[in-house]
Amino acid sequence: MTDHPITPRATPPTTPPTTVEAGPLLEMRGIVKRFPGVLALGGVDLDVRAGEVHCLLGQNGAGKSTLIKVLSASYQPDEGEILWEGRPVALPTPQSAMKLGISTIYQELDLVPGLSVAENIFLGHELSKGGMSQRSQTNRAAAALLDRLGHGEIPVSREVGRLSPAAQQIVSMARALSQDTRLLVLDEPSAVLDQGEVDNLFRVIRELTTQGVAVVYISHRLEEIRQIGDRITVLKDGSTVSTGLDARTTPTSELIRLMTGRSIEYVFPQRPAQARSFTEPVLDVRGLTLPGVFAGVDLTVHAGEIVGLAGLVGAGRSEIVETLYGARRASAGTVRVAGRTLRRGSVSSAVAAGVGLAPEERKSQGLLLDQAVYRNITVSSLRRFSRLGMLDRGGERRRAQVLTTSLDVRPHGVDRMVRLLSGGNQQKVVLARWLLRECRVLLLDEPTRGVDVGARSEIYTLVRALADSGVAVVVVSSEVEEVLGLADRVLVVREGRIVHEGPATDIDEARVLDLVMEGNAA
């Protein structure tokens, strides 16, 4: 039991475990990361000390995920430097980050479900002798690691796919520990856990920090941050707005103030001048329930109205929209479109009634990437172009051409493969599909994800124009500002329930964030 890596490192870390006052273990200075058309990080500073829990706070799109990908060397920064124990380091590959002792546990756990717990823990650095895996030794080492995490009850030979999410997370952490981790990055670790499991996770984190491991902790739940965190760095629009805040004493109002307000101003279209009274309910949802995700959701959208759903990722916003579209089967509740009740779990029924969805994952759920633009536009309206099953391709192309010209899809040309378009133009193609279908209810899930600033305004204008023509629109977005700027009415979703409903003009970003985050873990 002495010859396998249970303790952090054969040579003890240069910083003594408990001295928080020592120089930072990790320093990131002026990190800049650009993607085509987007500045993801515009100069981020972060310093993490050994033995502390450093919390990263920021809205969706603030750059947290990009930052940890730079840290784990999945991305290469365009500018800026990274110092490790005061010395500049280059991290050309994820392996180089691992070698330093940086382990990242992502939201989606990257375990192999068909392998055993022990095999997963030592995946990539298997204990072997002459090419033969050392099964019993591996199992013993894995058991020791799990013991150290306080989870000796997890059977090391069980397939990981049969463990609970909480247990899988522990396995991920054991895997991080098995490779001499000195900095552990946890990306929303509590999202899949219940209260008891969260307490357990915190106990493990505390134990690690007393051994000198530094933890970077990302969460939206302020409650948790107060419980486990030492210091907070707040990101906004890809930059550090404040760093080194005390996690226990900084007031919530101060944190929310730092997170809100944007340096980039999006241009939202004007709402119609006089407050209109919407009289014609087009979409009427009553008591919609998807077990374990959301329950008893009521939602009414009128012709010409835009309703926004705000909430955290995982709160059930996307699931609500997908369920009322029939892509998931509700266990209870009714969805009516213009008085007609939709069949549960039937997309065809929803589409026939005039509902359209621009899904969250545009590329995997929305588009036929290898097919021409015009085919992506007409795919939901093929009957309109067919006589006895034969397609009028000239007609298809002409209609698609008219639509893409009106929406200014660039580059022009309806025969181009959709894969070759930018995110904004791909989204316009999806919108053109439902425009052609002349739908009366349009569901937009994260309509501007991966869309650059210029195209965003165009999409906002388009959505407003659609509403003005009498379409009932539902917008789901992680960006609170987008919901508030675009919608007439706002619903806030938290943990599968609608906790607030009211006109968009009566509520501000800080209040929405407060509703979204308050007391989640309580």
């Binding site: 012709a303 579209y325 892509a327 213009a338 007609r340 997309v347 065809s348 929803a350 589409v351 026939a352 005039g354 969805l357 899904p359 995997s364 759920q365 929305g366 588009l367 036929l368 990437l369 290898d370 097919q371 085919r375 795919v379 939901s380 093929l382 009957r383 309109r384 067919s386 099953g389 034969m390 397609l391 391709r393 000239g394 192309r397 002409r398 209609r399 051409q401 008219v402 639509l403 010209t405 009106s406 929406l407 200014d408 309806v414 493969m417 599909r433 425009l435 002349e438 009366r440 165009e458 204008t461 388009l462 124009a465 659609l466 003005d468 023509s469 009498g470 379409v471």
Partner: protein, 367 residues
């Protein structure tokens, strides 16, 4: 579709909303120009030249491969190869597996696979010939054989499709089960004996020639042409490409993916039934050993033809070339008195080379 309240359904040429606010372009003038441009390209695209350009252009590698095999044939076998009789023999043999391959092209483009085609063919041939052997032949009209074959083939396809689309059984497994059980059932029905067709009408009909070309060959030509139209010019074909290319996106676009999947396997089952009838006509027998390894030949032809095994892309013309390449190759080897083992090795090589070539070309066209 009929009960639109607020949107003007009667005038589909009008944009639904005032789009002038959205784009930068002047909608009316620009639209007209665009429509004209689109109409012009459409005109250019239509016609025989476009058909030739697209099919020959995309399949240049296949044409070259076929030509090389033919040249080898001419050099090694001379007139025995390059005679009208031999060409008709090749085509007659190619016709049955060709019909199956056309159906297989649809299933594979739609994201599936069917290993049971040979077994379905055998079962159809046995079942339909039970009505045509000595005992029943006198009271049976040959059209009953045709009907029975299509019911059996379509029924097997339906079972495959339902298992895959609604039973959520992986296509490979579901059709593997069908392969085993359909051939087993064929053996039970026929008691492992070859059933000789004693009705005259059946053979007379299928073995006629029109302008010197056997009807069997014409059936293949017709099925290939119908398949091309179905894939490229109909709603069904477009949906097949969508379902195979991205099933989730197709579902969310309102396509009933499960139903479409069932239809694809039924279509292939019917193709197998037709091929069974053609084989019965050619050999004048029904047998549980008919169609051995047809699944491999059909899948090979489809893959050689450039259809993606993962679905979403493929051509009928490519499949026809694939069928021809495999059958001409067999013919050349047979004329040179090579045994079947050598043929098998050559087939394997051809498949690998063709796929490597297709991948190279595909990469160039997307780059």
């Amino acid at each position: 579709m009929s009960d639109r309240g607020t949107t003007p359904m009667g005038t589909p040429a009008e944009p639904v909303i005032d789009l002038d606010r959205v784009g930068t372009a002047e909608a009316t003038a620009d639209t007209r120009r665009v429509e004209q441009a689109a109409a012009a390209t459409e005109e250019k695209e239509s016609g025989l030249s476009a058909l030739l350009r697209s099919s020959v252009g995309l399949n240049a590698g296949l044409v070259v491969a076929l030509l090389i095999i033919c040249v080898v044939g001419v050099f090694t076998a001379g007139d025995r190869f390059a005679s009208a009789d031999n060409v008709l023999t090749i085509l007659r043999l190619a016709a049955t597996v060709g019909v199956v391959s056309i159906g297989m092209t649809f299933v594979i483009i739609g994201g599936g696979i069917d290993l049971s085609v040979g077994a379905i063919l055998a079962l159809s041939s046995v079942w339909c010939t039970t009505f045509a052997t000595q005992t029943m032949a006198e009271s049976t009209h040959w059209s009953l054989m045709v009907l029975v074959a299509f019911i059996v083939g379509g029924g097997c396809g339906l079972v495959n499709g339902l298992l895959i689309a609604y039973g959520r059984v992986v296509a490979f497994i579901a059709t593997l089960a069908m392969l085993a059980s359909a051939r087993g059932l064929a053996e039970i029905i026929s008691e492992r004996r070859t059933q000789i067709v004693t009705i005259d009408g059946f053979g007379d009909f299928f073995n006629t020639e029109i302008l010197g070309i056997p009807l069997l060959v014409l059936i293949f030509v017709f099925i290939a042409a119908a398949g091309w139209v179905l894939l490229n010019r109909t709603t069904f074909g477009r949906r097949t490409l969508a379902v195979g290319g991205n099933p989730e996106a197709a579902r969310l676009a309102g396509i009933n993916v499960s139903r479409h999947t069932v239809l694809l396997y039924v279509l292939l089952g019917l193709c197998c039934a037709l091929a069974a009838l053609m084989l019965v006509a050619r050999t004048n027998t029904g047998s549980s050993t008919h169609g051995q390894l047809y699944e491999l030949d059909a899948i090979a032809a489809v893959v050689i033809g450039g259809t993606l095994l993962s679905g979403g892309r493929g051509t009928i013309v490519g499949t026809v070339f694939g069928v021809l390449i495999l059958n001409v190759l067999t013919n050349v080897f047979t004329l040179n008195n090579q045994d079947t083992s050598t043929q098998a090795v050559a087939k394997g090589l051809i498949i690998v080379v063709a796929v490597l070539l297709q991948q190279r070309l595909a990469r160039r066209s997307t780059a």
